[in-house]
């Protein structure tokens, strides 16, 4: 205490640094008085400090409407008007709208749920907090990603109407169909929550009127024309389909070890499963041609363990 108030000179280097930090903090306040507190009251002091920080942040946001206040975004390092600064819920890390938009877009395209960019921060962003800086299209993509992540693979149903393809959970589409008075008990008839078209949840095709699933399958032994086209395209381009969730995957570059979005791991070369981070086949880990080395650039390193798969779309026809 005597050190902080400046009555005693300080010698130890670590203490000097600490005291200097305290002094520079003190300088930022209009009024500041240091005081000893018993150990038990530390929590109370912390709460006071938190409330003070919170009120300061709110005040900054409010006063920005009156006069221009700039803040430096730590991503682009540009000075930005505080009205254009995003503050993450919970963790309160702050970045400018422009950087946040780009960051969220990159992560969404990589099929990840965007998180707060701060190093090691685990805060997942929600739709509401991104409304200020995302385009309606990106917001829709984000809500789709969040819904997909929240729906277990086996619960996912995509509307078979190719112009819709809306993602629903089995429970959701069942409840909706019941409400719409579809006879859900007898057959797999369901009504799409979005486009309202009827489809069969077992065959995953538009509704087969006056026909049982068995009859439909007997009369349509081959996959639909679109599915057949996809299969041809896939085999021509050497794409692989995840055995667990049917996602179509292309190896653009990197090693043969694939980790699908659903978590299934396999060898791209022979399609054998990887178990406990180990291959069950004896294929090489990669083909040198897929470990890309772009001579035009300075260099390019693009190998590594994890998923190099580029997703196309969920053909979704087999389960």
């Amino acid at each position: 205490m005597a050190e902080v108030s400046g009555r005693w000179p300080v010698r130890q280097r670590k203490v000097v640094i600490l005291v200097n930090q305290i002094k520079s903090l003190q300088g930022k306040f209009v009024f500041c008085n240091s005081r000893h507190v018993p150990r038990n009251d530390i929590k109370f002091a912390f709460k006071l400090a938190k409330d003070a920080i919170q009120s300061q942040i709110n005040r900054t946001a409010e006063s920005s409407r009156i006069k221009d206040l700039n803040e430096t975004c730590v991503i682009c390092m540009e000075d930005t008007d505080v009205s254009q600064i995003f503050s993450a819920k919970v963790c309160l890390h702050r970045y400018c709208f422009s950087c946040m938009k780009q960051h969220v877009e990159v992560k969404l395209r990589e099929a990840q749920i965007p998180k707060c960019p701060h190093e090691g921060c685990k805060t997942e962003l929600d739709i509401d907090s991104c409304e200020n800086f995302l385009t309606p299209k990106l917001l829709e993509l984000m809500s789709q990603r969040i819904k997909e992540a929240a729906t277990p693979v086996t619960e996912r149903v995509y509307c078979p109407n190719p112009r819709c393809s809306f993602l629903m959970s089995k429970t959701e589409v069942l409840e909706y169909s019941k409400k719409e008075q579809i006879d859900v008990d007898r057959l797999g008839a369901r009504k799409c929550v979005k486009c309202n078209s009827l489809f069969c949840v077992d065959c995953r095709v538009p509704w087969h009127r006056n026909m049982s699933c068995a009859n439909y399958k007997r009369l349509h032994p081959n996959p639909s024309l679109e599915d057949a086209k996809l299969k041809v395209l896939a085999s021509r381009n050497m794409w692989r389909q995840c055995r667990k969730c049917n996602l179509m995957i292309e190896l653009a570059q990197g090693c043969y070890h694939m980790t699908c979005r659903c978590g299934y791991e396999f060898c791209y070369n022979c399609e054998a499963e990887w178990k406990n981070k180990k291959a069950t086949c004896s294929c090489p880990l990669w083909a040198e041609a897929n470990i890309w080395y772009d001579g035009n650039r300075e260099f390019d390193e693009e190998e590594e363990e994890e998923d190099e798969g580029v997703e196309f779309y969920n053909s979704d026809s087999d389960y």
Binding site: C76, E78, C99, Q102, H103, E301
Partner: protein, 153 residues
């Protein structure tokens, strides 16, 4: 020249790298391309790379900081997560990249990787096998390579 449109972020980072270098790390931009850095990392103490000076190159792609920097070792190194072309297996250089990370954080992570090799997530299969089957011997080889290729002479 391409350098005239250098984003403020890159300029600021470069200034700080030069004025306050991280211990055991130096990074300076190339004169003709400000997105290309010559990097040197000292082998961490109490690692098989102690006493070594490792040269790396680091390139900031057009999309930086939305995309990770591209980094590779130029000095030969015996390490399970670094392959014979010097390419590095590190999550923050791939899917765990975040635009709030910087050149400094990347280089510090690489320095930490030298202190803590991870043979369970290998880039070099043979070295990883060696590491798992006989760690003492693998460490000896790493020390030997450090003497041979990274002595700074």
């Amino acid at each position: 020249m391409a350098n005239s449109n250098l984003p403020r972020r890159i300029i600021k980072e470069t200034q700080r790298l030069l004025s306050e270098p991280a211990p055991g790390i130096s990074a300076s931009p190339s004169e003709d391309n400000m997105r290309y850095f010559n990097v040197m990392i000292l082998g961490p103490t109490q690692s098989p790379y102690e006493g070594g000076v490792f040269k790396l190159e680091l390139f900031l792609p057009e999309e930086y900081p939305m995309a990770a920097p591209k980094v590779r070792f130029l000095t030969k190194i015996y390490h399970p997560n670094i392959d014979k072309l010097g390419r590095i297996c590190l999550d923050i250089l791939k899917d765990k990249w975040s635009p709030a990370l910087q050149i400094r954080t990347v280089l510090l992570s690489i320095q930490a990787l030298l202190s803590a090799p991870n043979p369970d997530d290998p880039l070099s299969e043979n070295i990883a096998k060696h590491w798992k089957s006989n760690e003492a011997e693998a460490v000896e080889t790493a020390k030997e390579w450090t003497r041979l290729y990274a002595s700074g002479a």
